[in-house]
Symmetry: C2
Subunit: 713 residues, 2 copies
């Protein structure tokens, strides 16, 4: 029997009184016809079980299994096991106060007086003094690390094996099993949303999308233990840990340091000197391992994609299918009234002090795939969860899980936080103008600006899926109207604007893809849809903004007037030069332009805005040679500083699950025009398509990333 | 015009630049045809407005109004107001960063360029230099204390009156108004659930109900400010304070000191030497005023009725109709699985270490009456809210609001905490027995034990309403079955017991009302419903328990056997003597008896339990003379110590809204047989039916209370 050859974890019994209930009366053994059994060893059959349980990718010496699927162990005794006479219990214990009623003390048994609670056990085969026992954890069982004990029960007491961490078994969620809350039927989807160790996170702006690769590394050594540690640190009660809804909700609170010393410290200040810039990370393992290694002190610093990246690792690692979503033009409406208020002053410039809501260029959150037994059945499936600390949800910084379907239908009563997600996608952008006394007047409402485009990485591809239609019915459709009505019925503030005078004129702003450091031309189209000639006076304001829409510096204000004939369009060109914006650029190099216009003939005002993400200089990645497991491969990373200024304290990270452990190099400076080449040797650890990820980061230049797919033979 | 005679709060204008927007160009005034207005004073017409707004009971010198109802103020100028030429704004401001978009900066105006935001204003009358302005706060407006400003707007700038706390106005919820979230149509209900300052809280056990009066004192001086302070201390965002759902939810978290330094520290330890025993309080004002006076340090100590009493004050004070509910046999199921597990050892005694769930003798919570705009319409009406810190709800100690109707129907998906409330009412009591190895076996399931009886004080009466049918369909009815199915569909654990062998025998425990210190007889009826004679061996365990069902000391264990003929009942008598239980009594003097029985013929086990609340000695209250407003009245409180032991450090509280401020006397000791008489003079402050409340409390004797209704002429 090949299976009996399992070589891993063995636990040798010492017959010691390890429980208060255990009574061992050795003297009595002499009077028995059959001497009591003794356990000599337990073999967890790690390699075979892991293969069957789709857990062999985890770099972890212990057995890892999934719920509601049988795993086998071999127990060796000092004599053959007798099914009629002997009674043996297998016990699986988690936490400090194990309790049968709470699912933290599991007992299954074989032989005489068989009695299984929650989990099931059976004798698979017997060979000599060895028996192979098959054990099936129940489909709602707690997810985590259990200690294993084997207990021989006699009329005179119990003999329990000693605690031995080698025979500990991790139990995870099981997306392969229809009875599991996180069952995911399609294999291609499980491959992507559960097993893929690398992913693509989309950023930039909606008509100029960019992306970066992210190392989830959910199977990397130490990551599983770090994820369990996160829950222990956050005091997630064990009885909740079999419930994916609870794990997801609590996980979303535990990724951020607010309230509970979670994993990451959010920082949008642009000063990251006390930690690592959010733009500089290449993946989650570096962060989770640092958190675990340094005593659960929150790691500095993160912004939305870092939060989402680490949460994705946490979820996939525990066995919950998860993916990262990017919502372009994501409203952050801090009053929960479905309006994002932008306040202009008398001359059409943004009043920073009075504009507290903002539209994020893009915002990343996660989706998890699971049943929602607490909700009507149709709301199962993909659920939004967002761990970026934006607003408190019922007292803590967290958001979700909330059913994507319920959000689409405006059915906002059900837990958790459907209202907030709905507002991110459906807020109107309301332009107010203040008069000289500070009184506000609404001048323009843009109902289509937010939730423009929602994307995620396509399974088994490096492209993206446009999943906007999962979240929204087409703008203006009958179903869209019904959704809004539903939402209003569920207590979302009515859009009770005084009807605005139709301007009859539309302003459009256009620009091509622009490289950071280039001069460029902005096109302003003024479309007169009315039957009369109109004279319009416009103010164009240019400012540098963070990806959160928060304004940093105004660098340009230009007035242009135009007279446009009936049903004509006039095009104005505005020249923007590098020296105007370069000194003020922040972080992800976003320029925001707002046009305010006033029509002479009618006195009507109108407004529009556009965000442009400038392309950073390229980071070049090359390999030489053929990629083969265990064989060295040369990698080169190249970069030239195209600017007139010196780049200081430059961090270069190289990462790639299955290829290389996260590698960090720092350079004190790269002079103007200077060329950097970093060459290293990597040794692929497993075959298949791998992603090599590089990221260069310094205070003056952020978000310089690239990736290279390597097919390892 | 009588109204113009209003004598209260006046604010004298000093034309000072009190805002950054204000520009005063005095030199220009000379060139104007009409000189600008100046505000001389503002009269808030406190007495008249309060009468109209049903707020005249509040002992508070400021104006207090209710939402969506007009109040009037008189503004006096230095010359007559001209509706065509003058422009005057009234501004109402709350919080540190007033903002028009957040409802924290309200502007209404009269005269030229009229512009009202959210609230409405109109000129009611003009007389000479005075105008009377009517102002109507919007029906969703923030509840709290607003500052009032009057601003004269001219082409050259604004003149704003100075901040003056005398013209501050409190805005409260309005149960009289159909547009308000807390609208309550019936006047008798508003009289009881909003305006009654005193109430009855039911306790004891379900077939031996007792009660105590409680001084809510929501109108007492300082209480309204204390309630607002509680929200400020708890950092309840101002934008949530117009939403009753949010105020109720956050209020439930803020009453307990867990998480957020709330009002009261829960203590069930029976050691209250570091504060006031929960049983010793007579009402909420003493607690709320102590909390406010001592810098928001949580007050020691409370148990469920104290938490519920103070929350009731908080809610009624802010204008939300509220009442206290008592649920007899309230399950505290700390695993959320609808099972309350009681573990017996081999010989039928309760295993304290393994019995973690408990059935509380009674548990008090609150109900609030309001619309739930976040839920389908049928779930509006009474909502459960519970501030006793039992289990965390979504991370914090709080519970509710949850629709009573939804709980009744087992519709547990909707927020907040319907599951927990459902479990309190519908848990099965499951008796387990452990064998010698500690293995558990279910021996009996009692599906009807919890949620036995649910009561609240009847409006306009000193009796109670049995509202069990608001929460539950009759046990065993078709609707009850459907409710349980709904609940299971919503993720409440299925009751998946292995069917038990029918015992065919029932055990019943009975006792009369028993005075503490008396010997008494317990009756055990063994009903044999089968067609065969059975021999039963019973073990009766007697223990002293807290009202939470937590066991303190075992004082009795008695074995009785009986042989009962087919379809016969045999009655056994068990004699319980005072010396057996008196030394061990705790707190509310509850004795719990559990019978475990085993039938010889079938080997089937069964179990049942009964809690008996012993009556404490009486506290006698008398008055002499006729009760008239402002006239002294003699009150006498009498007590005799009937025990063989000395009562030490005895606290005596006398309380009664409208009669007396909470009065505390302490006595070092009352010797065995000693008689205490305390005589005092009270001076009724207002006419009507009042309640005089007395409470005597010491470590050896708790819950000695009485009340006396006094009709003040």
């Amino acid at each position: 029997m090949g299976v009996l050859m399992g070589t891993s974890a063995r636990s040798i019994l010492r017959p010691i009184n390890s429980s208060t209930n255990t009574i061992i009366k050795v003297s009595l053994f002499f009077f028995l016809a059959t001497p009591p059994l003794s356990v000599l060893s337990i073999d967890m059959l790690v390699t075979d079980n892991k293969k069957l349980h789709n857990t062999n990718m985890y770099k972890n010496p212990n057995l890892i299994v999934r719920r509601n699927k049988e795993f086998t162990v071999i127990v060796s005794f000092d004599r053959p096991f007798n099914n009629q006479l002997d009674s043996v219990q297998l016990e699986f214990v988690i936490g400090s106060t194990p309790d049968e009623n709470k699912g933290t003390f599991i007992t299954v048994s074989i032989g005489k007086n068989k009695r299984d609670i929650l989990w099931q056990a059976r004798v698979v085969t017997t060979q000599g003094n060895d028996i192979m026992v098959g054990i099936t954890p129940d489909p709602n069982c707690i997810v985590g690390r259990f200690s294993t004990f084997v207990t021989v029960v006699t009329d005179f007491g119990k003999q329990r094996t000693q605690k031995n961490s080698d025979t500990d078994v991790y139990v995870l969620f099981n997306p392969w099993d229809p009875a599991d809350q996180v069952y995911m039927p399609k294999d291609t989807e499980r491959q992507e949303y559960l097993l893929n160790e690398v992913g693509t996170i989309y950023n930039g702006d909606y008509n100029n999308m960019t992306s970066r690769s992210w190392n989830y590394g959910q199977f990397q050594q130490g990551v599983l233990d770090a994820c369990l540690l996160v829950m222990d640190t956050g005091k997630v009660p064990l009885i909740y840990r079999g419930n994916a809804t609870e794990i997801v909700r609590q996980g979303s609170a535990l990724m951020n340091s607010q309230d509970d010393n979670g994993v990451l410290v959010g920082n949008w200040s642009s000063d990251y000197s006390l930690g690592t810039a959010p733009t500089a990370w290449t993946g989650s393992p570096e962060i989770l391992l640092k958190y675990a290694r340094e005593g659960c002190v929150p790691v500095c610093f993160a912004q939305c994609w870092v939060f989402a990246g680490v949460l994705n690792t946490f979820l996939r690692c525990l066995g919950i299918p998860a993916r990262i979503i990017t919502n372009y033009c994501s409203a952050h409406d801090n009053t929960g009234n479905l309006k994002t208020d932008i306040v202009l002053d008398e001359s059409g410039n943004v009043n920073k002090g009075r504009t507290r809501d903002s539209v994020w260029n893009y915002h990343c959150w996660n989706e998890v795939y699971m049943k929602r037994p607490d909700l009507p059945e149709k709301y199962s499936g993909w659920q939004v969860v967002d761990c970026t600390p934006q607003e408190t949800s019922d007292g803590l910084y967290r958001c979700g899980p909330t059913s994507v379907k319920a959000v689409k239908e405006g059915e906002l009563s059900y837990p958790f936080d459907a209202r907030f997600v709905f507002a991110e996608l459906n807020s109107d952008v309301v332009y107010h103008q203040s008069d000289k006394y500070g009184n506000l007047k609404i001048i323009y409402v843009d109902a289509g600006y937010t939730g423009k485009l929602i994307v995620t990485k396509k399974p088994n591809s490096n492209g993206y899926d446009d999943i906007t239609s999962n979240y929204k019915y087409p703008e203006g459709s009958e179903m869209d109207r019904q959704t809004m009505q539903n939402a209003e019925r569920r207590g979302v503030t009515t859009r009770d604007y005084i009807p605005l005078t139709e301007a009859g004129v539309e302003i459009e702003l256009l620009a091509d893809t622009i490289k950071m450091g280039d001069d460029f031309m902005l096109t302003m189209n003024i479309k007169n849809q009315s039957s009369k000639t109109c004279t319009i006076r416009t103010t164009l304001t240019g400012c540098v903004v963070f990806y959160t829409g928060v304004t940093s510096t105004f660098f340009k204000s230009e007035k242009k007037n135009a007279t446009v004939g009936p049903r004509k369009t006039q095009t104005l060109k505005i020249n923007v030069q590098a020296f105007e914006y370069m000194p003020y650029l922040v972080e992800q190099s976003n320029l925001q332009f707002i046009v305010y216009g006033r029509i002479d003939e009618t006195g009507v005002s109108l407004s529009t805005m556009k965000v442009i993400t400038l392309r950073p200089p390229e980071l070049v990645l090359r390999v030489s040679g053929t990629a083969q497991v265990g064989k060295d491969l040369m990698v080169s990373v190249e970069f030239r500083n195209p600017y007139k200024f010196i780049l200081k304290n430059v961090q270069l990270r190289l990462d790639g699950p299955g290829l290389i452990q996260t590698k960090l190099k720092t350079y004190r400076e790269i002079i103007s025009g200077g060329f950097l080449q970093y060459v290293d040797t990597i040794t692929p650890m497993s075959p298949g398509r791998k992603m090599l990820i590089a990221c260069l980061d310094c205070a003056a230049l952020r978000q310089v990333t690239n990736q290279l797919e390597i097919n390892v033979m």
